[in-house]
């Protein structure tokens, strides 16, 4: 009995703590409520590819506009307007009504970071050179903060190399807030187990007892830390607040996991899923990562995901050589970005497009309500610099899906020059489309209505 009232206190305290943004799950007193499950999910994936893309003749990420358009440019066509496809973008042709190419957008906060590092801010738009040395919250986490409680996992953070990386060489797209990168998962078996076999063979009762114990201990730890906090100066108190927020977040996750033990785990068909795949088979591996996201979405285990397909700092992993395995290119993958050999650059882009198109096709092929899964999934795919030069301007960007969430596709949109707006405007509109009513994200100046009309 005393434990119950204690928990009530905990929640009251948390609510009064002024930590609304970081602790969204507080809104989720409705864990047990069944109705949320009836609501159709609105999903979002942000996927990143490294080293920019091939754009022969393009100046700073904007195609030269030559006629005919280069067959191997990453951009499907040279002029804004209805999409036509070249060799590089051909895998997306069947998805024509589900995709938009966006040109001329970038995050100002990454401008001076250099091409090797601007991937850090792809999903955050943080001003890394001036103020936010420690990065800031990413788009998926903003959404997860509001809607994450509706699914077993608030978000899913994947990467091909795993971990967080560090300043200037991030290996994750997702950040909870300043100085709080979320380590990405990169081992298919590990990801699968976390998603679909989280109790590792333990009985539900046993799991629940363990979680209950853990929650009680963490409660004690919060009190213990408070003692310390009260003895510190103002600046240091804030430091300690950060700690307390972290411990509360874990506590909430424990409670949340416990709540979810009342619901059966989804049964997942693992046929055709090779979870032992290694980086040496890049196509298998990347498709497996996409498959896992697909399964997580399909089972409504989560609605928000990020996937860092490569990072510019992959020299210490096998991804450094994956173009060798995929295309037979003799040299580090990174070399393609610098040397831009005509014969491999376009092939490489097309290969990457094939993998992404595979995922989009899978979503589209799965019926959901009066449409398909892609209709209710917004997928952003792109890189944080245009081409070989180390510029951090005018990213190659590709938006797909969400047709039943208000998005309209089939065009190349151009925002360079006079029409320049922050890429964060796109983020605001993406968030709005998945029912996150934010008005501002990072350095945004408004919404991006072009993707809706």
């Amino acid at each position: 009995m005393s434990k119950n009232s204690w928990h009530l206190n905990r929640r009251e305290m948390l609510r009064g703590g002024g930590v609304a943004l970081a602790l969204p799950l507080l809104n989720s007193m409705s864990w047990g409520r069944e109705t949320t499950d009836q609501e159709l999910p609105k999903r979002m994936l942000v996927s990143y590819f490294a080293y920019g893309a091939y754009m022969p003749g393009a100046i700073n990420g904007v195609p030269a506009g030559n006629d005919p358009h280069d067959d191997w440019s990453w951009w499907p066509c040279s002029q804004p307007g209805p999409l036509t496809f070249n060799k590089s973008s051909a895998p997306f042709e069947p998805l024509k009504d589900y995709i938009t190419y966006l040109r001329g957008l970038d995050h100002q906060g990454g401008w001076t970071m250099g091409g090797h590092s601007s991937g850090d801010v792809f999903a955050t738009g943080a001003d890394m050179t001036e103020h936010e040395k420690t990065n800031n919250i990413s788009i998926d986490q903003v959404a997860a903060n509001l809607h994450g409680h509706k699914t077993r996992y608030a978000s899913l953070v994947l990467g091909t190399e795993g971990g967080t990386g560090s300043y200037g060489s991030s290996k994750t797209l997702s950040h909870r807030g300043p100085g709080q990168p979320i380590p990405s998962l990169h081992k298919p078996q590990d990801i699968f187990n976390r998603l679909f076999n989280p109790y590792a063979g333990q009985g539900v009762e046993q799991v629940r007892a363990g979680l209950k114990r853990e929650a009680s201990i963490l409660d004690l730890m919060v009190d213990h830390s408070r003692d310390l906090q009260n003895r510190l100066g103002r600046e240091d108190q804030q430091k300690m607040e950060e700690y307390l927020e972290s411990i509360r977040a874990i506590e909430q996750r424990v409670e949340r996991t416990s709540q979810w033990t009342h619901k059966p785990l989804p049964n997942v068909d693992t046929k055709g899923l090779n979870l032992e795949v290694s980086h040496k088979d890049p196509q298998e591996y990347i498709r497996c990562m996409y498959d896992l996201i697909y399964l997580a979405f399909q089972t409504d285990s989560t609605r928000f995901a990020t996937l860092m397909l490569e990072s510019e700092s992959s020299s210490n992993s096998e991804m450094w050589n994956y173009a060798t395995y995929a295309l037979g290119y003799k040299g580090a993958t990174h070399d393609i970005a610098h040397k831009r050999p005509a014969d491999y650059s376009g092939q490489w882009d097309r290969w990457r497009a094939e993998q992404h198109a595979y995922f989009l096709q899978r979503l589209r092929a799965t019926p959901e309500a009066d449409g398909n899964m892609l209709d209710r999934t917004i997928v952003l795919w792109g890189s944080a610099h245009p081409h070989a030069s180390h510029s951090g301007r005018n990213y190659p960007l590709h938006l797909a899906g969400g047709n039943k969430l208000g998005l309209k596709h089939g065009k190349l949109l151009a925002f360079e020059g006079e029409r320049k707006v922050p890429m964060a405007n796109l983020f605001v509109s993406m968030l709005n489309a998945v029912d996150v009513p934010v008005e501002k994200f990072a350095d945004s100046t408004g919404t991006m209505d072009e993707i809706r009309s």
Partner: protein
């Protein structure tokens, strides 16, 4: 403010005309607003405003609004910046109207006096948090010293942020989030699972293997480990462990000897454990168990013994065969690391030293003493355990907390963990299990994870000081002696601090401080990721010659590049050990090298793989940090030297300027010069083209001259005043024809035919040709800046925050103190640790 500082710093430092050979008496300017009106304002008006007015505002510095009131708003920071620029003579730029030296000095003194007064009068508390989370490096070391055994946890934690030329231990950078805390929790539970054992005697796992000298007729015997080309079934193929426990200390014993050709005195042999190195896998994980140097011949085999923790080695996960998971596996492999600097590519294996291994055995856990010491250190033997369990638990927690918190725990703190213990005991069942969980919670409590600053408590200040000292100089928690001095309240006395600093520096653990500090200070890590052009430098790294992995680097074999890192760290450690002057970073009379490095640099008479100080001669073109391979490789492209990177390095790491990265809107070097920087053999020429553009020239004219004197050192850090002719195909390296060092030298000579020029004129300075002239210029005219930079770096690292204008005078005092002593490094560290900025204790407390 950062923006201003960054930009201004991008402006080249000219010769400090100030403070050197200055004879005119400075004009005394009244230290009031009147002085501003009569002297300072006209000075700014004449020399500065036309570029730094509200409209032009060059470098985003606007001066017209300065009104002489040093205390308003963020004015002190702006004045500090102006003062620094005046002192260093960075402004006005060349070609503009220049003030008289006396004028400049007078204004500088006026500003300095005003700032000093302001800092003294306003005791504004720092706006920066002082509470520092343990860095991963500190965390790992602390866990080791707390538990009494090495446990590798660093890979489990999210990486700490890294910013080039900055330290990652600043409170500002060290944030925490739920994921991080979650990892701490996992690490703590893992650590406790190892630290506290179950009382029952464990099962001991053993494996033993013997080798015989079979197959001698085909070359190497079956019990031999060669440098290359080892066969299966030899010790080089390793010994698979039959079984092993998940936790515990292991023992490996081995009988071995060496077959040494004439002239070779020892053979370095490494034992690694983890995956089998011969396996054809994309990921091969191993960790070294030990390195030994064999010098006994096979007639006198010797037995060697090593110990380690099984937790620190990566097992290869068992495969799933017919839906059953096989057990995890581990292999102990022996590696012959002999390397005389020539290309050990398998052609001359029998002429190289070979190790002979007769047998190898593995045993874990070690039960000589059971329970092990690290267990009884926590759960100590006591009759209390039976007679009064609550009192026993209380005492166990009290002892552990005092070490984990680096100060005695309060009764209340002990009581809280007693509560945790009581909460988990019923479910977990045993005292051991409950204590593991309880102590894991201690290890995620903020008192453990942060070194906190106790504001005014005189007793706690002493403990804080002991932690500050140990985290500075060991990267770990204080030991018993420091804690005892804190308890006695003696630690703040300058003589005690001095004795302790010298004691800590003399301890082995201080090498980790030097390593961590040097790597960040000099931004060394990037050296490891520069892609080395294999066609130009075929003998720098080891590549797999055959098979599926052909052409990739040989994993787990130390190369010259790895030794270069040790060279730089070892050099700094040696300077500190000798209490040598900081000016040795610019030039020294010794190098810190081993045989492979000596061969690389062209120094004769260095044998063996261990690094040591070696006297050098002018013809070696070595001395100081400027010629270290780690610096030159890291600041090159892998094909060519890169004068810009090297210039930035020199100015950031040695002269203490902050150089702003190139603005995003300028075209890349390759775009203006029409040639790939990666391919270019001399970037100097590209830069010359780059400087033709006005937008590029504005910054580069002040940057390039600092990097060009390095041009005689190639992309792999060798002195090489010639390069291949641009556009010619490089003659293929023939490993048979060029098998020895002389052959390799001949090969290099045959391709390198064009002489490189390394002359440039530094801004406001003389013509400088090559590294020797650069060094003597730095030593003659920039010595104080070099010392100041070192003081600032050490101070920043030691207190865990960036310095501000308020620290200017503390730094000045430290310069004065150490100058009379030729800027000796160890004395410098002592002076820093005695300063109020470091201790946070007012001198009156410390009877200074």
């Amino acid at each position: 403010m950062n923006r201003l500082r960054f930009f201004l710093a991008a402006i080249i430092v000219a010769i400090a005309s100030f403070g050197n050979g200055f004879t005119l008496p400075a004009e005394e300017i009244p230290r009031t607003a009147a002085g501003f009106k009569s002297h300072v304002a006209p000075f700014l008006e004449t020399y500065c405003i036309h570029c730094h007015d509200s409209e032009t505002s060059k470098g985003q510095i606007t001066l017209h609004a300065l009104n002489g009131d040093l205390s308003a708003g963020r004015e002190p920071e702006r004045w500090d910046l102006i003062l620094r620029i005046l002192e260093r003579g960075e402004m006005p730029p060349e070609g503009e109207l220049q003030p008289e030296a006396a004028e400049r000095k007078g204004v500088a003194e006026w500003i300095a006096a005003g700032l000093r007064e302001y800092v003294q009068q306003s005791h504004q508390p720092s706006l920066v948090p002082a509470t520092r989370r343990l860095t991963n490096f500190e965390y790992q070391n602390t866990v080791r010293d707390l538990l009494g055994f090495e446990l590798k946890l660093i890979d489990q934690l999210p990486q700490d942020p890294v910013k080039p030329y900055h330290f990652n231990n600043t409170a500002e950078m060290m944030r925490i989030g739920p994921e991080q805390l979650d990892r701490y929790l996992q690490c703590a539970r893992r650590a406790m699972a190892s630290a506290i054992v179950d009382p029952a005697m464990p099962v001991v796992h053993q494996t033993r293997m013997e080798w015989k000298p079979w197959g001698l007729e085909r070359g190497m015997g079956g019990d031999e480990v060669g440098v290359w080309g080892n066969r299966r079934g030899t010790p080089a193929g390793g010994m698979g462990l039959k079984s092993f426990p998940k936790t515990g200390e292991f023992r490996v014993r081995m009988q071995a000897s060496a077959i040494l050709p004439a002239g070779v005195n020892e053979l370095p042999l490494r034992l690694v454990m983890g995956y089998g190195l011969g396996e054809n896998l994309a990921t091969l994980l191993v960790e070294p168990i030990a390195d030994i140097r064999l010098s006994n011949n096979p007639d006198e085999p010797q037995v060697f013994e090593f110990r380690g923790r099984i937790e620190n080695f990566p097992p290869r996960p068992g495969l799933i065969v017919k839906e059953t998971r096989q057990p995890d596996s581990m292999v102990i492999t022996l590696q012959n690391l002999y390397d005389d600097g020539t290309l050990n590519d398998g052609e001359r294996n029998l002429a190289l030293p070979r190790a002979v291994v007769n047998w190898l055995e593995f045993e874990a856990p070690i039960t000589d003493v059971w329970p092990p010491l690290h267990h009884t250190r926590i759960l100590f033997e006591s009759p209390l355990r039976e007679s009064d369990p609550p009192a026993y638990i209380q005492e166990v927690l009290k002892r552990f907390l005092a070490r984990a918190y680096r100060r005695p725990a309060t009764n209340e703190e002990v009581a809280r963990f007693v509560a945790v213990y009581e909460l988990v005991l019923p479910e977990l069942g045993s005292l051991e299990a409950a204590m593991r969980e309880t102590l894991a919670m201690v290890m995620i409590s903020p008192q453990f994870l942060y070194h906190t600053v106790a504001k005014d408590d005189v007793v706690l200040q002493q403990y804080e000081l002991s932690a500050k000292l140990s985290y500075f100089l060991w990267g770990s928690m204080p030991d018993d002696e420091l804690l005892r001095l804190a308890e006695e309240g003696k630690l703040a006395e300058p003589s005690v601090i001095e004795a302790q600093v010298r004691r800590l520096l003399a301890d082995q653990r201080s090498y980790q401080f030097v390593d961590n500090f040097t790597e960040q200070w000099l931004s060394l890590a990037k050296m490891k990721t520069v892609p080395i052009n294999r066609e130009l430098f075929p003998r720098f790294l080891y590549y797999v010659p055959l098979g599926e992995r052909a052409g990739t680097e040989v994993p787990y074999r130390p190369t010259i590049r790895d030794y270069m890192h040790q060279e730089t760290v070892g050099f700094m450690a040696e300077l500190i050990r000798r209490n040598a002057s900081v000016l040795n970073v610019v030039d020294s009379d010794f190098a810190y090298i081993n045989q492979p490095l000596a061969a690389h640099y062209g120094v004769d008479g260095v044998e063996g793989i261990h690094l040591r100080p070696v006297p050098i001669k002018p013809e070696h073109h070595l001395g100081g940090l400027l010629t270290h391979g780690s610096v030159l490789v890291g600041n090159g492209t892998g094909s060519a030297p890169h004068p810009i990177y090297r210039a930035v390095w020199l100015r950031e790491a040695i002269l203490g300027d902050e150089v702003k990265p190139p603005p995003a809107d300028v075209p890349a070097l390759t775009d203006t010069a029409g040639e790939s920087a990666e391919k270019a053999l001399s970037i100097k020429d590209l830069l010359a083209a780059h400087r033709q553009k006005t937008s590029c020239n504005e910054c580069h004219v002040r940057l390039d001259p600092w990097g060009i004197p390095f041009e005689h050192y190639n992309a792999i850090g060798k002195f090489q005043p010639f390069v291949p002719k641009e556009g010619t195909r490089v003659n293929a390296f023939n490993k048979l024809a060029h098998a020895n060092l002389a052959g390799y030298a001949a090969y290099l000579q045959s391709i390198n035919t064009v002489e490189i020029h390394a002359d440039s004129r530094v801004p406001r300075g003389p013509e400088i040709d090559g590294i020797e002239e650069l060094k003597s210029y730095l030593l003659n005219l920039r010595r104080e800046e070099i010392a100041e930079n070192m003081i600032r770096r050490l101070l920043t690292y030691s207190i865990g925050r960036e310095l501000t204008y308020r620290d200017r005078f503390a730094v000045e005092d430290l310069i004065k103190q150490t100058k009379q002593n030729e800027f000796k490094l160890q004395d410098m560290i002592v002076a820093i640790c005695q300063s109020e900025t470091f201790t946070g204790i007012k001198p009156q407390h410390s009877k200074k």
